[in-house]
């Protein structure tokens, strides 16, 4: 092992030091935001709860600053982080109680030296579960809750405890290359919580099974390498966290949220400002904005997912065929796709919706058609490159048919750019969905979709601006998360950026 003596280089490659700075800036930004929000400029009054949040965030920021100083000192003196500094991370974990995901995840990463991808998955599975419990918990302030609420919440608390135990077990027993044999059944059990949409649990379970079985060392190493590259990028991890959190929330919302609050008119509570009962206020029909946004996530994710996966499959197949056969096939298909490419996506979507009417299915089709050429181009470029490799040649020499070569040998090897492209374009699809709904061309107006909510909000911009601010923030955060995650994937997959 080479001893790195240069302090600057050491600081650069020490993940904790980078994370400390990252946490520092985000906690600082949030405390500033809380400070600004704590004073109501219109009524000249102080909001005490927000002020408390500000103080907590400010203290966290100072604390993280201290930690970063002590990490730097440790590295300068010993070349590694001292155990005393690591212990400082434990109090940081508690900041999850005020919703400071940045600080608490930094705390988790600081307290252990043994950072496997499984450890990170376990911590994020735990954090996701806590956030789900927290968000669903707001329903307690409603006049009544849905029947399954208590049962499901109990199950969630249990799950959170399981994840907390897993964090400890994983940090103790799982190494970079292996896990003890008794982890295998645990891994299998951990596949189950995916039914609540907690994909971190799925990843954790899968990783544990892989490592406990000890079947294929090279595939374990590949798994380890890929994830450690992705997880190194803090923004990508938070993007992934928010996506999975939103996904999980939209999966479990039918069990913990009452759909009636989101759709039934309640004329006794029209245009209420945010209170505990209505955390984000109510709209002009007295519908709870908070529930509407939670249910809106479902539609946005569904439309975003399908209008990405459909063109990815169609465009990918076309691209693979054109890239493999080249010449005439290539010329004909690509020239035809050029026609689609020449029309801006949103205009084509408007034209299709104009012709077939505005509803969710047509919206998905309209958005899909427009993005076929981009996927075809991405796939074609990769396939053209890959079909020149030796393994393709050897498959051909062994007498494999063209379709086998394309779909068994070439396509699996050219999926990485497609996955990156898809992640980066889901965000665009989410924006397009809400934009079209905002214009009245997307999801049917009675469904609580973010664009529809914003449409109502835009009419009350002057008097009740929160109706327009919150759904927009959600769209932005979701799209931002997809973009950060996509960027992280791209950096991890692209050999050029290494």
């Amino acid at each position: 092992m080479k001893v790195i003596s240069n302090l600057k280089l050491l600081l650069k490659i020490t993940q904790e030091y980078g994370n400390a700075h990252f946490t520092l800036s985000f906690s600082a930004i949030f405390s500033l935001l809380f400070l600004l929000y704590s004073y109501n400029f219109n009524t000249q009054a102080v909001r005490p709860i927000v002020l408390v949040f500000f103080v907590v965030y400010l203290l966290t920021t100072l604390y993280v600053w201290l930690i970063s100083k002590s990490i730097k000192r440790d590295l300068a003196n010993h070349g590694n982080i001292h155990i005393r500094t690591r212990i400082l991370g434990y109090p940081l974990i508690l900041t999850v109680l005020v919703g400071n995901i940045f600080a608490s995840s930094f705390g988790f990463s600081l307290v252990t030296k043994n950072k496997t991808p499984e450890y990170t998955f376990a911590t994020y599975a735990f954090l996701t579960q806590l956030f789900i419990i927290g968000v669903s918990g707001f329903n307690l302030f409603k006049p009544y809750v849905i029947d399954s609420f208590l049962l499901v919440m109990g199950a969630f608390v249990l799950l959170a405890i399981i994840f907390a135990v897993m964090i400890i077990l994983v940090s103790k027993y799982v190494t970079q290359a292996s896990a003890p044999k008794w982890m295998l059944p645990i891994g299998l059990i951990l596949l189950l919580p995916v039914l609540t949409g907690n994909l971190f649990s799925l990843l954790l379970g899968y990783g544990l099974i892989k490592k406990a079985r000890q079947k294929d060392a090279s595939s374990i190493e590949k798994w380890q390498k890929m994830w450690s590259k992705i997880l190194r990028n803090s923004m990508a991890v938070f993007g992934m966290f928010f996506i999975i959190f939103m996904f999980s929330l939209s999966v479990i919302s039918p069990w913990t949220f009452d759909y009636d609050f989101a759709t039934q008119n309640n004329y006794s509570a029209i245009l209420q400002t945010p209170t505990l009962e209505y955390p984000l206020g109510t709209d002009d029909f007295g519908r709870d904005l908070f529930s509407r946004i939670v249910f809106g996530a479902q539609i946005s994710l569904i439309v975003g997912f399908f209008s990405t996966i459909i063109p990815a499959i169609i465009g990918g197949t076309l691209g693979a065929i054109t890239g493999y056969y080249g010449k005439k096939t290539d010329n004909i298909i690509m020239r035809l796709l050029d026609i689609l490419y020449a029309i801006p996506g949103i205009l084509l979507a408007i034209a299709i919706i104009a012709a077939f009417g505005a509803n969710t299915v047509n919206l998905i089709i309209a958005l899909s058609v427009g993005s076929i050429p981009t996927y075809a181009r991405t796939m074609r470029a990769t396939v053209m490159q890959i079909s020149n490799y030796e393994f393709v040649e050897s498959a051909r020499a062994l007498g494999a048919s063209d379709s086998t070569i394309i779909f068994k040998h070439i396509v699996p090897n050219s999926l990485a750019p497609m996955i990156v492209k898809a992640t980066l374009t889901i965000g665009g699809a989410v924006i397009s969905t809400s934009s079209l709904s905002f214009l009245g061309l997307g999801v049917e107006p009675h469904i609580p979709e973010w664009g529809n909510i914003l449409k109502i909000g835009s009419t009350y911009l002057e008097t009740h601006s929160y109706l327009a601010i919150f759904p927009g923030l959600c769209i932005m955060l979701l799209v931002l998360s997809f973009n950060f995650f996509g960027d992280g994937l791209r950096d991890a997959f692209d050999p050029k950026t290494n």
């Binding site: 689609l340 020449a342 205009l347 934009s435 911009l461 927009g472 931002l480």
Partner: protein, 478 residues
């Protein structure tokens, strides 16, 4: 020998003959095209070709060579070799072949080899295969032939001229491609609107309209005609700038589009200018100091800019800058330039973010190139290396991306226009889609697509002009 002379002294005749060779080598389609374009000339030359076939040097040489080879008795030994080869192949793949099959295969291979061998020997004697093509090529070399045939074969000669220079050929092909795309776009959009299950007549005349009224309406707008007739009418309408009147309101569609298009274009171009002015310096700064605090801040801001839905950004801007601070008016008004500021900023945000990210990655790629290291090694200071060597090379992909994004922006303008109540082409299309007013939507979408295609065409051609790499690649392929 003759070739080298041709290069140094390009005569008109040799231009045609070499370009003829190039074009015919491109495949069957081009051969047929040339034949059709120069039909009057070809009719005469085909006749002279068949009458003059008697004095065929090539055929004679071919025959004598074949006889020579056969008499040498080479065929037998080749056959033996091939039989053995096929046998080992069959055993390796565990195939069972009958003797007859083996013999057949070996015979085929022998014939193939014989033909190749003869062709090689004949070619070594300096004889070309005597085909109509080579005959015609020879004719093109003579000045007299050209003088006689220039008028009847003018179309063919124009094509040959276009293909004589790789640059002209590139422009010609690119223009053709654009025309094809434009035609395709018009057909596609029309077809989508044609197969629509919605009934504009019902929507305009109301539910109580009698079937007679509806029939009358359909006849008036030609909606009762067959697909091809309607398509032809729409296409000719699009390209003669006469789309008739809209279904609702009976306004002249061309006049309204001509009124609204400049508004959209003005906003789009202003946003583009704003985006370029902000994004390129930001991208360059980020790339010069990668992974610095400045870089991270810029790139996170850019990513936020990419993730903001433009209609929401518009609403927030109206809320803060119009309602709370009252710096800018909330709705667009052509007389007041201040009302342009918000829509331009909103429309330009996404573009700005994309260009900044693109500039950064393109610059990073260029900075690691060998010629930058060379420039640094020879002692240039950093400022000069960046401004003289890096930026100029990094700009090439950026400009292409700007061209593509400009298209997306024109499309996305419809949302921004709706938020700020601008009567541009985008909001016009959105307003018309509820009926659906087929000619209006068709016109709006297709004219935007045409604008985008032309912008991209111009960018591509300019590139071919300025980028030496593209030029040399064209010459090689040409």
């Amino acid at each position: 020998m003759t070739q080298s002379i041709n290069i140094y002294k390009p005569k008109i005749s040799s231009i045609f003959s070499s370009s003829y060779l190039k074009v015919t080598n491109r495949g069957k389609f081009y051969k047929i095209l040339l034949f059709i374009l120069g039909l009057p000339v070809h009719i005469v030359t085909v006749l002279t070709f068949y009458f003059g076939k008697g004095q065929n040097q090539y055929g004679n040489a071919y025959k004598s060579c074949e006889e020579q080879l056969v008499s040498k008795g080479l065929l037998g030994s080749w056959r033996k070799q091939f039989l053995e080869q096929e046998n080992t192949k069959a055993t390796f793949f565990h195939e069972t072949l009958t003797a007859e099959q083996l013999n057949k295969k070996a015979d085929l291979l022998v014939q193939e080899k014989l033909q190749k061998e003869i062709e090689r020997q004949v070619a070594a004697q300096g004889l070309e295969k005597y085909t109509y093509q080579s005959y015609f090529k020879q004719l093109l070399n003579s000045r007299n032939f050209l003088l006689i045939s220039v008028i009847p074969g003018v179309l063919m000669y124009v094509l040959l001229l276009l293909y004589s220079n790789p640059f002209v050929q590139f422009i010609f092909e690119r223009v053709l491609q654009t025309l094809f795309v434009i035609l395709g776009v018009a057909t596609l959009v029309f077809t989508i609107l044609y197969i629509s299950p919605l009934d504009p007549a019902r929507n305009i005349l109301g539910i109580e309209a009698t079937s007679e009224q509806i029939e009358n309406f359909n006849r008036l707008y030609g909606l009762d005609q067959p697909y091809l007739a309607q398509l032809w009418q729409s296409l000719s309408g699009l390209f003669t700038f006469d789309l008739g009147t809209s279904f609702a309101g009976k306004e002249d569609i061309m006049a309204s589009i001509a009124n609204k298009f400049p508004v959209t274009l003005q906003i789009a171009i202003l946003s583009l200018v704003m985006a370029v002015i902000i994004a390129i310096p930001v991208g360059i700064l980020s790339a010069i100091r990668p992974n610095s605090f400045l870089d991270y801040t810029f790139m996170i801001v850019a990513l936020i800019g990419l993730s903001i839905p433009s209609f929401w950004q518009g609403l927030i801007f109206i809320l803060t800058f119009s309602l709370e601070l009252s710096w800018f008016p909330a709705t667009y008004n052509p007389q007041n330039w201040l009302s342009l500021v918000l829509p331009v900023v909103v429309l330009g945000t996404t573009l700005c973010a994309s260009i900044a990210r693109m500039t950064r990655s393109s610059m990073l790629e260029v900075i690691n190139e060998d010629y930058i290291i060379t420039a640094k090694a020879k002692g240039l200071n950093e400022r000069k290396v960046i401004s003289k060597h890096a930026i100029r090379n990094a700009m090439i992909p950026i400009i292409t991306v700007i061209g593509l994004l400009f298209g997306g922006m024109l499309g996305g303008a419809s949302v921004t226009e709706k938020v700020f109540n601008i009567s541009g082409i985008g909001s016009y299309i959105v307003d018309k889609q509820f009926i659906p007013d087929i000619p209006a939507i068709l016109g709006g979408v297709v004219y935007i697509a045409i604008t985008i295609s032309i912008v991209n065409l111009v960018i591509d051609i300019t590139y071919a002009f300025f980028d030496p790499r593209i030029r040399s690649k064209m010459k090689k392929e040409g």
